[in-house]
Symmetry: C5
Subunit: 93 residues, 5 copies
Amino acid sequence: MFFGKVIGTIWATRKNPALEKLKMLLVQPVDSSRASTGAPIIAVDTVGAGSGETVCYVTAREATIPLPDSFAPVDAAIIGIVDRIDPEVIETM
Amino acid sequence: MFFGKVIGTIWATRKNPALEKLKMLLVQPVDSSRASTGAPIIAVDTVGAGSGETVCYVTAREATIPLPDSFAPVDAAIIGIVDRIDPEVIETM
Amino acid sequence: MFFGKVIGTIWATRKNPALEKLKMLLVQPVDSSRASTGAPIIAVDTVGAGSGETVCYVTAREATIPLPDSFAPVDAAIIGIVDRIDPEVIETM
Amino acid sequence: MFFGKVIGTIWATRKNPALEKLKMLLVQPVDSSRASTGAPIIAVDTVGAGSGETVCYVTAREATIPLPDSFAPVDAAIIGIVDRIDPEVIETM
Amino acid sequence: MFFGKVIGTIWATRKNPALEKLKMLLVQPVDSSRASTGAPIIAVDTVGAGSGETVCYVTAREATIPLPDSFAPVDAAIIGIVDRIDPEVIETM
């Protein structure tokens, strides 16, 4: 999974029917210090992410797993809101 | 998903039979400001995209999901026409 | 899909049995102007591509779709010979 | 598989339910000399990796294979702790 | 598929059980002239590759196809030993 920051919303009227009820957000990939890395991507929201929040997202085939319709042509999905990153602190599971 | 701009059509007479009825477009990957990023790719059109339009496309296995024949050897498909990108504006679903 | 130019043949005596009857070609990735982009890859031929021809190829799991044995460990396959690239000309399907 | 070094823990309260019981670690990709290569990623731990350990991890769809729930939206998983790398020494299996 | 050169062995005592009987090799990606390209990766051997040999390997989900247990969390596998690369010479299949 990768870190990203939600920076916008995408509007597309003409689209694949499986995308009708999905919210497509513009996500800026960031590193663990929240610094931008590379160009923004489009990810489907599955956790109610808001503008400016740091999220983690999955890519490729895994991105369809959290969707209501797992045959949607989607290759990036937000799967969590990041509360905190603890460097070098590993808790026992 | 990624942003792209339709910049051409690909013609291939000799090809895999599963590609016979698919329209292959030349797509220039762009960022959310419509600036080019990297080399053009070939994507199958599934929404009737026209020259110069900003589209979003999926890659890898997801690209076959919107096709009539999901066993076509296709790894990039246009799945929506982008109307508008709203930076920092997140609507409730 | 990506553009490539066929630039050679790969010979491998010791190999996975599923590769026995497949022709492995050396393919130079190129952009839509036929300029080289990155290092050559190895792709399985499924359309009878010849030396110097511009082809389009798929990668990852899709690469096994056009093969006789879809469980062959193959991650790149040539699926068409490119006749022509028309910049900015989009035909109705 | 790739080499990485465990450098932290990720906390996310709001997340996909399939991630509830998984430990998400911050992993710095490294090369075989343990030098950093690229930005840290988020990987699910499946072997009890500790802070500072060199691990190997898989990406993409394979990352769900070692999980209790293989439909979890996960695209990177730690699958081993690296004890030693022997350059140029190949043992018979 | 990609070219690589076997440059070492990886030892990991604590690992996913599905990896128990697999030999993990350190592989330096190379181009068709055997020049190094990028950082070494870890690939499972399926053909008995030896130190210094030029091999071809597959990545992602295809990497599990040649394994005894196709649910092993493996994303790179050596599938052939390269004997010869003939530039510009294409044989009829």
